[in-house]
Each structure stands twice: as C-alpha cells, then as structure tokens.
Symmetry: C2
Subunit: 348 residues, 2 copies
Amino acid sequence: MGGDHGASVVIPALAAVATRRPEIKFIIYGREDAVRPELAKFPALSGSSEFVHCEVAVQMDDKPSQALRHGRGTSSMWNAIEAVKNGQADACISAGNTGALMAMAKFCLRTMASVDRPAIAAIWPNLRSESVVLDVGATIGGDAQQLVDFAILGTGMARALFGIERPSVGLLNVGVEEVKGQEEVKEAGRMLREAELSSLDYRGFVEGDDIGKGTVDVVVTEGFAGNIALKTAEGTARQIAGYLKAAMGRTLMARIGYIFARGAFNQLREKMDVSRSNGGVFLGLNGIVVKSHGGADSAGFAAAVELGYDMVRNKLLDRVQADIDLFHARNRQGQTTQANVVKTDEEG
Amino acid sequence: MGGDHGASVVIPALAAVATRRPEIKFIIYGREDAVRPELAKFPALSGSSEFVHCEVAVQMDDKPSQALRHGRGTSSMWNAIEAVKNGQADACISAGNTGALMAMAKFCLRTMASVDRPAIAAIWPNLRSESVVLDVGATIGGDAQQLVDFAILGTGMARALFGIERPSVGLLNVGVEEVKGQEEVKEAGRMLREAELSSLDYRGFVEGDDIGKGTVDVVVTEGFAGNIALKTAEGTARQIAGYLKAAMGRTLMARIGYIFARGAFNQLREKMDVSRSNGGVFLGLNGIVVKSHGGADSAGFAAAVELGYDMVRNKLLDRVQADIDLFHARNRQGQTTQANVVKTDEEG
C-alpha cells in the first residue's frame, strides 16, 4: 500500500521477480480494493502468492507514534512485519512511511541480543562498484559501541550482497582540524582496531568524498551525519542532471550531439537515478526488513525484493549475530583481563 | 606559499585581479626564492603590490599546533594574518593548510565579541544560483547559541556577496524519525523563530537535498555534518563526472555525439569543478580570512581574492557585528523579562 504509487508499482514488480525467481513465495498485505484489480492483471502471479486483506493502511505522512497507535495489529505494514516475526515470511519489503516502518519493526521484531539500536543501511553506488553506508537515519547520535555494532552489521550485509569474504570498513570522519572528529568516532576506531576481527578489515577514518570513490566496502557513521550525506549526494546528483540537461539544450551543436549520444545519456540517467540503487535495509533487528524508496518504479521495487531475498539466502542474520556475539565476548574478556591487571597492580 | 602550486598559481592570479580591480593593493608574503621569479614575469603587478620576505612557510601537512609553534611571528601565513590585525590589510587570502590557517587566525585575530567559535563558510552552487553553507569544518558539534551565531554570520556573508537584503536561512536537519534531529538544532530553530530578526528570514529545517536545490540562501549546521556534506557532494560530483566520461567513450555514436556537444561539456565541467566555486570564508573572527582551495588554479585563486574584496567592500564585519549585538541584546532582554515574570509569580 505504501510509496508514491502503491499496488500499481508493487504488484508488477512482484510479477517480474516471480518470473526470475520462481522459488520465492509472496504474501501480499493490503486493502482489497487497491490490490485485487492489480493482481487480476497478472494471473501468473497467483500461483506464487497469497493475498491477505488488511483494513488499515499506514499513510505516508503518519507520524510513527500515530501509525503504531492506529496500525498495530490491523495495518498491512504491521501484518507484513509480524509475518517475519512468526516465521511465516523470511523478509518484509515495504515502500511505505520509513519512520512508521522502523517504529513498527523495532516494536514487533525487537533489536538483536546485545544490539542497542537499529540502523538503516543504504547501498551506495561508487566509482569502483557499490558500498554499504550506515546509519542513514534510524538513530541520531550514537556511542562508540553502537558504531562498532553498525560496523559488524554493515559488514554482514556487504558479505551477503557483494560476496566479499572480509569487507573493508571505514569510519566516516572529518579531516580539517587537528583534533579530528567526535570522541565517539575516535573511541570506535580504537575498539575496531584492537578487536582485530577476522570478519572485517578495519581501514581507519574515511571522509565524505571517499564514499563516491569507493575507498571501503562499508562506511559507518551515526544517523544524523549519515542521513545528511545521503540526501546531499541525492541532491547533488539531481543538480548535475539539471545542469547536464540545460547544457545539452543550449546550442544547436549540443542538441545534435545529444541525438548521437542519446544511448549513453540514457545509461547515465539510470546510473544516476536514486530510485534504482534501491533499498534501505533495517539492520540490528530480529528479522529482515527492506525499505524501498517511496518514489521507486516497478524495477526499483523489484530490486528491493531481490535485495531482501539475497540477504535471506546468504543467512545474513545468523552470521551477523555470530560476529556480534564474538565481539562482545572478546570485549568482556578484555575488560576482565584489564580488571585483573588493575587488581594485581593494587595488590603489588 | 600554500596550496598545491604555491606562487606559480598565486602570482598570476593577482596579476589577473590587478587588471580587473586596479583599486586593490596586494601585500605578498613568502619566501624570496619562490616568489621573486614569479613576480618577475608580471612587471605590471609591481605598481600595485609590495613583497615581504618571510623565512618560514607553513607546510600543507603541518599540524595546526606545529604550525603555531614554528610559524608564529615568522611564517608568511602568520604575517598575512597579522597584517589584517594591524590594519595594514583588509583581508587575508591563503591557499595553504586549512587547520593551520584557522588556528593562527583564531590566535591572532580572536573571535568577535559574543561569538564563541568561528565557522568556515562555503559558497555552494545550486540549481537556483548559490548559497552559503556553514560550518563546513571549523568546529565539531555546537550548541544552539553557536548555530544561531552561524546563522547571523552566514546571513551577513550572503548579503555582502549576493546582494540579498534579507537572506533566507535554513537549519540542516534529518527527516526520517518522528523526533527529528538533535536537541541543539531544535533549540536553535526555536531561538531563530522567536528572535524575528529583520536581517534574516528563518525558514525552518532543511534536508541535505535542499542544498543542491537552493531552497534557502544560507544553510546552517555544525562542522561535523557540514564537512561530511561538503565532501560527499564533491565526491558525488567527481563520481558523476567519471560516469559521464565513461559513457561518452563507450560507443561510436556516443563519441560522435561528444564531438558535437564538446562546448556544452566544457561548460558543464567548469560548473562541476569544485576548485572554481572557490573560497572557504572564516567567519566570526575580527578580520576577514579567505581560504582558497589548495588545488585551485589561477582563476580559482583569483575568485577567492575577489570574494575577500567583495566582503570588505560591503562592510561584512560591521554589519555582522551589529546583528550579533542586536540578537544578544534582545536575548538578554528576553531573559530578564522572563526572570521578572518568574519573580512576580513567586511573589504572587
């Protein structure tokens, strides 16, 4: 029901995925009057899907608290998340209200053991290939331990999606002043360096322009700076697209050039289209929830569905949980050892 | 002496500015062996400039504390800043080490009365025209009062440079979660709304993609998020330039198209070139200091010089000081009134 286009985008997307991935089964939650007519256009989809009518649909401008109050138990969004909790579904995909989806997912699925706060991870195209950037807006601020958890969660996602055995990780920081960055970022860097995890290759601090370069596979930051970075990059891409369009229409020569190079421009447009590199992934919860861009077309929503599928297939949650357990166990051990040292010193 | 190219970029830039703006006089600080040969190539510049030999040059990789220790009193950077303090110069322009320049400028010029911390303001091209974005990396974090000071400082700069009598101002924030943004940002928003300053038109929160759109004339944020936004935008611009170059070489048709549209592409390249929209301006100090991009060419450095000139000509410092005094006076008055109310309540 969510996103700018609702069922008219979601159902054709599922039909497309169904032909590519016949092993996927869909449970579709929504209002009958909106979904049934769309489903009728894709009779082949009926074999691989089940439709569940839900009276309530969370609106795109509902506040998260409102959505929880009115939509808990009744809305299509809640029911889709609950299906993951109950084990009926392996992943929940929605193009709906991000804040409401996060609030419901946190409430219903809860965070993983020893993870305090969830993150939203974005797949960010770069000059090399793609990277995972998190958190892009689930939480504001975050202490060092949360940044380390984000690093482990993001690494698990990069491993599941890109097939890199030991993804490289950077902490987003600034490089202007001598005493660089926030205390939490420096402390998280120290923790990651000392942990020497076999599952991730910590590369130190990175700056904003390293995201587009693809310096590391996973870029870790708290949600305020991460959301601003993501939105700023989207804004810059649209701005340059605007410049390009204006430049190509300005002179006769440019217009002729454009006609010849139209194929190349279309490719470029796809590459720059933020709705295509689709899917914010909610990490740190006991279940996989993918948020598709609200303005995504069918191809974009299909990409979000396949993103969820890849993470399920690659057992993202199990591997991430194992890594987080390992880190926390070592850290406890480290603290115990340190405490012993202090004790010995005092005794001496 | 600073920047990637030193005197070989700075001196031709001054020569170019001198022909456009014969009313400007330059005092050039640097090492004789580096500057004299360049000066010899532009004999016309000798009439409008004075050269002062300085034994020490701050290196691009010096730490700010190092630069202060070894360069205070002796370096070309320090002497240029001190000329502003002594009234010999109206503005200092440098392409050198940003951290060192800020440390020396703070130490030598001090912050304006009732301004706690300086900011670096960037001129950011957008789809509408240009905006001022600050702080892009002078300080990490910042309380509500500092954000309000930045708003007033940025407004003064926008007025001086763009000639807008009452610039519009937005506070950079995120829009995903219900409880949006940091406490300081919300508090700063309340203060700006209640102040109802005649010098600025406060428009509320803006998001990262509003910078490229040009939603407001002045975008205010603390230095961590601001620096990440700036670097991310630079990275995205370079990334898209990379895509564009690849796309235009991929097929014969694209290559033919490129030949026709070459003029348009060159214009676009200029527009996307970060070294052209040049000049980080240090605001909040008792003097005008402009930091040119280290990688700037002569045209870029000349733009930074003219930026400094425009701010001097438009009496930036006087107007900004008047606005800040007005705000703080009102705020004190507000607090007094409130204190009286409380007192009356207690008496009642």
